[in-house]
């Protein structure tokens, strides 16, 4: 027969372990949410493959990098890592054995993640099914296959350290900055990339052509591009989380971010990101220069472009370019159309596309690809027209540019 104290101790222990299990569950749930915010799945899961088993090929100017297995398999995944090891990777960009990680892993952003959040993500990754799948060696050209080169890159471009709140700004702004600069790793695309594959802090969020993908990631600081200074917070929240808004839609690589990451974030976090992003664009002039394209009646290109537009585009985007938002996005006053780089509007005309299917927009309206329908001259004319009509202020596009983008990779 058990004595009362032992029974009591048993109850107490059972209570404690139940509480511990509840704590674990809460930690894992939080980690899953944060892993969504970090969009880990985009690189560490092959489409149609096992969750977080890696193996996704990523083309870089230096060769092909294959993402790694981050399931808890002890041999081929990260099953033998400790929370310290994981934080070390996130914070310092080094493997537990001290080896250097290629900066395709956005540790330049993840270094800003707090220890607490890193631990939660690690707990979540420990909870997913382990998958035995050995990592595929990278296929990098000489001299980039020498990991010691990463040391030089780190000296130039890597600044270790957790996010430091700006005490002059609101808690919401700081939360948004933490998510955008840290887990969101937005600067990986939205900053100019130099020939060394690095981006300097002073040019953070100034936009740039994404290497190998031939999509232009617009500047988040300039209102001439995707600077959101003139947008309402609600419009920014819609764009990020729903994928469509009354001002425009996400497309290309940004559709992936909304699909895999942003649609899962809660209202407070997306709102915080919107507040921070809006502040990045505030105070920059909305671009005073004129496009330099003569008035429509004076330009053959523009009147040709207008004919193409009214034949193929106006039924959705409307003759006056106002579209039918949010389903068919407006082109008038849409910064995405007028950016200095015309890569994105040309590619949208050639390839078409759907905004991502999201919880709040599960059945998006798609844009037809016109690559087969329109000639290079027609593409150039219609993109020139939409960049100049209705008060838009983009520069003209050449047939050669349209032709070059026909062969751009579409994935």
């Amino acid at each position: 027969m058990l004595s009362l104290p032992i029974l009591l101790a048993g109850w107490l222990l059972a209570g404690l372990s139940a509480a511990a299990r509840a704590d674990d569950h809460a930690l894992v749930t939080r980690g899953e949410y944060l892993a969504r915010a970090g969009d880990c799945i985009a690189c560490h899961t092959n489409p149609g493959g096992a969750l977080f088993a890696g193996g996704l090929a990523m083309a870089t100017p230096f060769g092909t990098i294959y993402s790694s297995n981050i399931t808890p398999d002890p041999k081929t995944g990260i099953g033998s890592w400790t929370a310290d090891d994981f934080y070390g990777v996130m914070h310092t960009g080094r493997f537990p054995d001290g080896g250097l990680i290629y900066p395709a892993m956005p540790f330049g952003s993840y270094t800003k993640v707090t220890r607490e959040d890193s631990d939660a993500i690690f707990a979540y990754l420990r909870s997913v099914p382990p998958v035995r799948q050995p990592n595929r060696p990278h296929d990098l050209r000489f001299p980039f296959n020498n990991r010691q080169l990463i040391l030089g890159w780190r000296t130039l471009f890597f600044h270790e350290g957790e996010y430091q709140p700006d005490p002059t700004k609101s808690a919401e702004w700081n939360r948004g900055a933490y998510l955008v600069e840290g887990l969101g790793h937005c600067a990986m695309c939205h900053s100019p990339i130099n020939a060394l594959g690095g981006s300097s802090q002073s040019q953070a969020f100034e936009g740039g052509l994404i290497p190998m993908q031939n999509w232009y990631a617009p500047s988040l600081t300039s209102n001439k591009e995707a600077g959101l200074g003139e947008w309402s917070i609600d419009e920014i929240v819609d764009l990020l989380r729903t994928g469509v808004s009354h001002r425009g839609a996400v497309y290309g690589p940004m559709a992936e971010v909304t699909f895999n990451s942003l649609q899962y974030l809660n209202d407070a976090d997306v709102r915080a990101m919107a507040i921070y992003l809006k502040s990045l664009g505030e105070g920059t002039p909305p671009g005073a220069e004129v496009s330099g394209i003569p008035a429509p009646e004076g330009s053959l290109l523009l009147s040709f472009g207008q004919t193409v537009y009214e034949t193929h585009c106006a039924s959705c985007h409307a003759k006056d370019g106002r579209g039918m938002p949010p389903e068919y996005p407006p082109l008038a006053a849409n910064p995405s159309i007028q950016m200095e780089s015309a890569v994105n509007p040309v590619r949208m005309v050639l390839n078409g596309g759907f905004p991502p299917g999201t919880q709040s927009n599960p059945m998006p309206y798609g844009m037809p690809p016109f690559a087969q329908t329109l000639s290079d001259d027609e593409v150039a004319a219609v993109v020139t027209y939409i960049r100049a009509a209705w008060g838009n202020r983009g520069s003209p596009v050449s047939s050669r540019q349209a032709n070059e983008l026909r062969t751009a990779p579409v994935e």
Binding site: E230, G323, A333, N351, F354, P362, Y365, G366, V410
Partner: protein, 224 residues
């Protein structure tokens, strides 16, 4: 609706909304697959209308996940979830636009006869099953996932048989079409494609119900 700082007042005016229909959502499909998925004059783009929804769903998922390689389709479907793809599949499966005029076959009568024989009877000696064994006596397919073969162009059919053979188009295991395509010679493919493209589309191109046909080989896409 919120007014935006610094934006023109016109911005806040109510604009027309897009129709809340699948047709309006799927205008992206029209340039290649025609209005209502009825096909176009282009040789390489298939008609979608009337194919079984299970087949269309399998293809949409295979394009999205890269199991069937065609970059323009892989790109369009990359960020769509299963429930929408299912709706798209059901939408096109239910449509019955009139068939397009069929081009006249540009092969000899002997090649057409060879194609007809392969389609209807296969080649038992070489282990090639008849197309009609799975795709139906009228070649309109079988629910839920075997497609009809009528109303398609010869170039599209031969391109698909090539894609099965070279692994750029794959399906759930056992991948029956990969086995069938691998057993065909180049001249078989030409003959089968020419004959199929010449078969008139029957007045009711609906697939036969599930289980109507005793399939000669196992097929991961059409579990019994």
């Amino acid at each position: 609706m919120s007014l935006t700082l610094g934006s023109p007042a016109a911005h806040a005016q109510a604009t027309e909304r897009a129709p809340d229909t699948m047709e309006a959502r799927l205008r992206a499909c029209e340039p290649c697959h025609g209005r209502q998925g009825g096909g176009t004059n282009s040789d390489y783009f298939p008609r979608l209308a009337g194919k079984p929804s299970g087949y269309l769903m399998n293809q949409l998922v295979a394009f999205r996940d890269g199991r069937r390689r065609y970059p323009p389709m892989n790109y369009l479907l990359e960020y769509q979830a299963d429930p929408y793809l299912q709706k798209i599949a059901e939408y096109f499966a239910a449509l019955r636009p009139p068939p397009l005029p069929q081009p006249v076959a540009d092969v000899s009568a002997a090649v057409l006869a060879r194609g007809r024989s392969l389609v209807a009877e296969g080649d038992q000696a070489r282990g090639v099953p008849a197309c009609s064994g799975c795709h139906g006596p009228k070649l309109t397919g079988m629910e839920p996932a075997i497609p009809g073969l009528v109303g398609l162009r010869a170039n599209y059919i031969s391109a698909q048989l090539g894609a099965f053979r070279y692994g750029t188009r794959t399906a759930a295991e056992p991948d029956c079409m990969q086995l069938v395509a691998a057993s065909l010679t180049e001249s078989d493919v030409t003959a089968v494609a020419a004959w199929l493209a010449s078969v008139p589309v029957p007045p009711d191109p609906s697939p036969v119900p599930k289980g109507t046909l005793q399939m000669p080989l196992g097929c991961g896409s059409e579990p019994n």
